[in-house]
């Protein structure tokens, strides 16, 4: 220190600035490398399922300190901490593989109780509300029930039997006079526990698998109105939309009794449209 003090001030400042610049640059490089590594390492494989109550993956990695207390309190040894280099989620975070050991949906949810950080949300008090993933009958060519046999194992082991999986009767086209009891999963009831995947009798991979909801579910087609769904206020409005092509001989509302090419409803106006083909002989041209 005393040596530094005896140097002229400007030298000191220059050194300081140099050091600071070097430090900042080094850190920026290291920080970018670390962030890059993190974005690679945080990928969550589809078959790795988080414990019940786990926050959304992004929030989970901010919350979970990788202590493994959830793992320790799981009475069925379902949960594991991911190990580096295997096909798991971020190293040290808890997950399970349904085909190995599924979640038994403990009523007291000990894993959530054990979590000190809230990475497993304490708000989950009823295990039936858990949302670890969603079962999907993924191989409909090999599922025995889909082939017309009566296996029913996934249906019968499901802790939310008849609600999460139901067997829907369909006609067996192959035999012509039998039924197919198709296992159908209902997303609002399935907890993603993986009991069905575990018990699927097929050797090797299961025909029914729990997938993360982000993969298993599509977004609802809100632009289609499901007329059969009750109390859908939009259905009434729909009735008034034009349902016929304007043209000669139709009761065209724009040009009643006849066809007027320039009287086509403006495609931009409410209920307007552009015909996708030309009616023969009308002379209308495709826009």
């Amino acid at each position: 220190m005393s040596a530094a003090k005896s140097k002229p001030k400007s030298m000191d400042r220059r050194r300081f600035l140099q050091d600071a610049a070097r430090g900042a640059t080094g850190c920026a490089v290291a920080g970018i490398a670390l962030s890059q590594f993190i974005s690679d390492a945080r990928a969550l494989p589809a078959q790795a399922i988080r414990p019940p109550g786990a926050l959304d993956e992004n929030d989970f990695l901010a919350a979970c300190i990788r202590c493994g207390l959830c793992v320790r309190d799981c009475p069925y040894d379902t949960l594991k901490l991911a190990e580096l280099g295997y096909d798991g989620p971020a190293t040290g975070t808890p997950f399970f593989t349904a085909r190995d050991v599924p979640c038994e949906m403990c009523e007291d949810i000990p894993c959530v109780v054990a979590c000190p950080t809230g990475a497993l949300d304490k708000g989950l008090t009823n295990i039936d509300d858990a949302d670890m993933g969603l079962a999907v009958l993924i191989d409909q060519e090999r599922c025995l029930n889909a082939l017309g046999l009566r296996c029913d194992v996934c249906y019968r082991v499901c802790p939310v039997i008849d609600e999460a999986i139901s067997l829907e009767r369909r006609h067996n086209e192959r035999s012509g006079h039998h039924a197919i009891f198709m296992p159908v999963v209902h997303s609002d009831k399935c907890t993603g526990c993986g009991k069905c995947e575990k018990s699927c009798v097929l050797p090797g991979e299961a025909a029914i698998k729990v997938l993360p909801r982000r993969l298993a579910m599509a977004e609802a087609a809100d632009h289609y109105k499901l007329g059969w769904e009750e109390n859908n206020p939009l259905v009434d409005d729909l009735i008034d939309l034009p349902d016929r092509l304007p043209g000669p001989g139709t009761d065209n509302l724009v040009a009643p009794g006849g066809y007027a090419p320039d009287a086509l409803p403006d495609p931009n106006m409410d209920g307007g449209f552009t015909p996708s083909f030309n009616l023969p002989g009308t002379g209308a041209t495709k826009p």
Binding site: G23, A62, G92, T117, G118
Partner: protein
């Protein structure tokens, strides 16, 4: 510089006090490191679940929660406000280290410490050059970088690479390829940079250092007048820059080693044949006369043997 400078480190202390006493803090430290590891392994190995979890977070006797405060801090930076259990755990751990010396974690608990100590031993045996020696402030830059990365990625950033948790968690829950991080630290310390990891880079050590910057338990060079310049303490100390102000202080300067870099490892006490050092508190104001100033011996010469 005296002839004794050329003796092997600790040689004189061993001759004076016997091997055991000249290694007592080293042995205690290894025992403590083993203790903290075995405590966590009792469960998985023998089914005795006194302590569950790992150094990142644990539960002792089903009642005492402990959380690594640096990890908790990163979680906060990443935008997650933890449950009370983890918060209390972090406060307890933080308070204890703030009291007994932040970097006590480094020399008495951290499982990487035996690894880097081993690397230093190999480094010495091979007689290698000290290699890359970054600035003393580097680890604080790294710590800052980790906190910024936590904010930027919204994750507990350091836990993706932290060799401490990789090793500790690996031993308790299953290692996978986590040992590669440990080997990397070892090789780095042997071939790239003497005492490079713990001495210059580790942000966890930096954090605990800051945490304990006003800690109560301190080492004091209280008998500094008796120092005969053998330089063994400089050679054995993992952060030798902390010794100079205390040992070479002038009359009236405190003999306490107050630098937060000091890990309270006690090795200087072990190797000193003149019994200069001892553990005490920062409030200890025993009068410690300075050494009579010798002309040709500057701390720099001592450091060059150690370095």
């Amino acid at each position: 510089m005296t002839d004794k400078t050329k003796l092997a480190v600790g040689q004189e202390a061993i001759e004076t006090f016997g091997w055991l006493r000249a290694h007592r803090f080293l042995l205690l430290r290894r025992a403590s490191q083993a203790f903290f590891l075995v405590l966590f392994l009792l469960g998985p190995w023998f089914g005795i679940w006194w302590v569950k979890g790992n150094l990142s977070g644990s539960l002792t006797f089903n009642i005492l929660p402990l959380t690594d405060p640096f990890i908790a801090l990163q979680g906060l930076m990443a935008g997650h406000w933890p449950e009370l259990t983890a918060l209390i755990g972090a406060i307890i751990v933080g308070a204890v280290y703030a009291l007994i010396g932040g970097r006590v974690y480094c020399s008495w608990v951290c499982p990487i410490n035996p690894v880097t100590d081993g690397a230093h031993w190999v480094h010495d045996k091979l007689g290698l050059q000290k290699g890359w020696q970054p600035k003393r402030t580097t680890r604080f830059w790294v710590m800052g970088m980790v906190l910024v990365a936590s904010v930027a990625t919204g994750t507990i950033a350091w836990e993706f690479v932290n060799p401490i948790s990789m090793l500790h968690r690996g031993l308790i829950f299953g290692m996978g390829f986590a040992w590669t991080f440990v080997i990397a630290v070892f090789l780095f310390d042997v071939f790239v940079s003497r005492r490079g990891w713990c001495g210059h880079l580790c942000p966890v050590g930096a954090f605990y250092g800051l945490l304990g910057s006003k800690s109560v338990v301190r080492i004091s060079a209280v008998e500094r007048a008796a120092c005969d310049d053998c330089m063994d303490c400089f050679a054995v100390c993992p952060e030798m820059q902390v010794i100079t102000p205390a040992l070479r202080g002038k009359e009236g300067d405190t003999p306490l080693i107050l630098s937060p870099d000091c890990t309270n490892c006690g090795r200087c006490i072990d190797v000193c044949a003149m019994d200069v050092f001892k553990f005490t508190t920062r409030f200890d104001d025993t009068h410690a006369p300075a050494r009579e100033q010798r002309k040709r011996t500057q701390p720099a010469t001592g450091a060059s043997k150690a370095a």
